[in-house]
């Protein structure tokens, strides 16, 4: 399984990942200039926090959001193993928001659905990794630590 790895030593906190994630994933226009002025405001799926670290969904092996979701809205793609929200069935109970240990899942400010990073599963490569100017965000094969230990 390929996951996003963030190197805090390389992250400069430039927010480019947020900007382009908001444009590419969350906006209707999919282009920067119109996206900036779009209503409702697009919401990025990646968050640059405090001391310069980009946070995305870790797609946990034992994902608590999957267990907490009462109606199977939170799903795992059987092929890629990526965790995503199946928006049409979301009942906005926010259980996933509460249980996420990284605070990655958030309620949409506009629609009654949970929003989270799906590692751009419908694109070839995650946009945040593509635009990161310092290569702090990279895509790597996840090591199976159960085998390592």
């Amino acid at each position: 399984m390929q996951v996003i790895k963030v190197d805090p030593n390389k992250c400069t906190g430039c927010h480019q990942c947020e900007l382009w994630c908001g444009t590419e994933i969350a906006s209707v226009a999919k282009e920067l200039y119109p996206a900036i002025n779009e209503e409702p405001q697009p919401v990025a799926r990646v968050y640059v926090e405090g001391k310069k670290l980009a946070l995305q969904c870790r797609h946990c092996v034992e994902a608590p959001c999957l267990d907490a979701c009462p109606n199977g809205t939170m799903r795992r793609d059987p092929k890629t193993e990526l965790v995503y929200v199946h928006e049409p069935t979301c009942i906005a109970c926010w259980m996933c928001v509460m249980v996420c240990p990284f605070g990655i899942i958030n309620p949409s400010p506009t629609y009654k659905v949970a929003i989270k990073c799906d590692r751009c599963r419908n694109m070839g490569y995650p946009i945040c990794a593509e635009v990161c100017p310092t290569d702090a965000i990279t895509v790597e094969e996840r090591k199976d630590y159960r085998k390592v230990f």
């Binding site: 927010h15 382009w20 444009t23 920067l32 002025n37 919401v43």
Partner: protein, 567 residues
């Protein structure tokens, strides 16, 4: 993210792009691609690093981080980004003027018309001190009165520039007011540009219409060649040209004024491809200024063993004649040393006629044609290249669209060189591109008038406003900057709007993060000056860009053939 599809429309440059790729030489286009994606906050004017508490951004996709540390919101950030560009552009006009005036004052050159030179120097001094300068009287009274009422008539270089720059430091100021300060600053640039032109005429005599050749094919293999790069003091240029003539050394230019009576410096290429002439092997020495010159030239010059001579520095040059002789000798010596370097000069050069002014063209005929509807409008084409677009393509396409729709095209500065490369400044090709009404007008203007007329845009607008009955904003006149890249071009666009001429500018100015600023550049400016500065964010092709003006004059719509590109 934008990716370049085609780097240049210039076939001479294309030849060297392949060569550069083979030899692993990095050019402007390669560096641009390695920069992608460029910072989205900076591109949309939502960033600020005016103090050391930042850098700050106004985040368009978060509820937090909307304000900078000091509290600047997106509107303030965007308008201040514009102000910063205009300040820098104005500084480059003022620096050129200051440089030239200094050389004349210190007696380094004997003016052709001493009285006029003294008057111009006095006008420069007055503009510096209180703004009460003779140059203001050259502008139409209606325009000056409007500037006075709006509060943007310059009141002295020192005062206005200092005050305007402090708008970036902080304070509580409405966006509209900052925008007006931006216009005020740009008018200083306009007046400096005008004064520089006046001083050039006083010192070197009238610039006459001259026949030139343009593009890489003008380089000569068998004589030492000096290239002027960027803005260089006309006095230094004149001294070097005089010394070079004695020693049979050829002198040409890139991004520099090609006409300096009695000398002509053939333009070798345009801004985006400024490294290419060195790769021909036919350049021995380059004299570089600071404005419009890529620092990358130093590396390319080293690779091709081209000598470098900065035109100015911290130390005074002393005797300029001796400096000029030294440059010419160095070029001759370098030519001997570089005999083993293979020379590859493409046979691509075009004839062009440049340097028109009111003395060469009867502007009353243009005014009459405009008022009678013989021509549908006037378009001013300005600006240099921008690596974000295919080099010269937009400029040439827009010009051809206008010419075929009875729109008179005036080109300014670097745009003239770009257009000359596509034979649009060649009088023998005049009829090929122009529609009937326009062709008739051009024939009536004289024998040697090309399809696109190279004429300083400010000079043209001032002369034209004296010949028409109403103010310029009442006529279908526009300015296009389709491939702009330098700050001085932003300044020019601003002063063109202040003169009542609507302006279309690409790439879109870094104000797109603030819809309010963007709207003010159209609505507010229209209300104050009768003209707008259009910031167009859609990705459109060159013909559709031409369509924006054609639509306003109800010419047949230009179809690019791509439905999604029609706005």
């Amino acid at each position: 993210m934008e990716f370049i599809q085609r780097k240049t429309a210039d076939r001479a440059v294309s030849h060297f792009l392949l060569k550069a790729a083979d030899q692993e030489i990095t050019l402007t286009w390669d560096r641009f691609e390695s920069q992608l994606p460029e910072c989205g906050f900076c591109e949309s004017g939502l960033s600020c690093r005016d103090c050391l508490q930042g850098p700050c951004i106004s985040h368009p996709f978060r509820d937090q981080s909307k304000l900078g540390v000091c509290g600047k919101d997106k509107d303030t950030l965007a308008v201040q980004t514009l102000m910063r560009l205009v300040l820098k552009g104005t500084m480059s006009c003022l620096d050129q003027l200051n440089d030239f005036a200094d050389s004349v004052k210190t007696g380094e050159i004997e003016p052709a018309d001493k009285d006029r030179a003294e008057q111009t120097l006095k006008a420069i001094q007055n503009l510096l001190e209180n703004g009460d300068s003779e140059v203001v009287k050259e502008f139409p009274t209606v325009l000056v009165d409007n500037w006075k009422t709006t509060g943007i008539l310059p009141q002295g270089i020192a005062r206005d520039i200092f005050k305007a720059s402090q708008r970036l430091e902080g304070g509580i100021c409405e966006m509209d007011e900052t925008l007006l300060w931006t216009f005020k600053t740009s008018l200083l640039g306009c007046m400096a540009d005008r004064l520089q032109r006046n001083l050039k005429t006083a010192v070197f005599g009238n610039t006459v219409v001259s026949e030139l050749e343009v593009n890489l094919g003008v380089l000569q293999k068998d004589v030492p060649t000096i290239l002027f790069y960027g803005y260089i003091s006309p006095v230094i240029k004149q001294k070097i040209a005089a010394a070079a003539q004695e020693k049979n050394v050829s002198v040409m230019g890139v991004c520099t004024d090609p006409l300096l009576p009695p000398y002509r410096f053939y333009p070798v290429t345009t801004a985006a491809s400024q490294e290419i002439p060195l790769m021909t092997g036919a350049v021995d020495l380059i004299v570089t200024g600071h404005q419009f010159v890529n620092p990358s030239l130093a590396d390319v010059a080293k690779d091709w063993k081209v000598a470098l001579a900065p035109a100015d520095g911290l130390e005074e040059k002393g005797d300029l004649d001796a400096f000029a002789r030294q440059i010419v000798e160095q070029a001759a010596n370098t030519f001997e040393i570089r005999q083993n370097i293979p020379k590859d000069v493409p046979m691509v050069k075009e004839a062009a006629v440049m340097g028109f002014s009111a003395a060469d063209v009867d502007v009353k005929k243009i005014a009459a044609a405009l008022e009678s509807g013989k021509i549908k409008g006037i378009a001013i084409l300005a600006g240099s290249n921008n690596v974000k677009y295919t080099q010269d393509e937009t400029l040439a396409t827009v010009a051809k669209e206008f010419l075929s729709n009875d729109i008179l095209c005036i080109s300014d500065g670097e745009a003239s060189v770009s257009l000359a490369k596509y034979r649009l400044l060649d009088p023998t090709r005049q009829k090929k591109n122009c529609s009937e009404g326009l062709a008739d007008l051009l024939v009536s203007l004289g024998d040697n008038v090309p399809a696109v007329i190279d004429w300083s845009m400010t000079d043209f607008l001032i002369v034209l406003s004296g010949a028409v009955k109403k103010s310029l904003s009442d006529y279908p006149i526009c300015a296009y900057f389709p491939e702009a890249s330098r700050t001085v071009e932003v300044t020019k666009a601003m002063w063109t709007v202040a003169m009542g001429v609507s302006t279309y500018f690409w790439p879109c100015l870094p104000v797109t993060g603030s819809p309010k600023t963007q709207a003010a550049l159209t609505g507010f400016c229209k209300q104050r000056f009768g003209a707008s500065l259009h910031v167009i964010t859609q990705k459109i092709d060159a013909r559709t860009k031409a369509g924006y003006f054609l639509k306003t004059i109800e010419a047949p719509a230009v179809l690019s053939g791509k439905e999604w590109e029609q706005s």
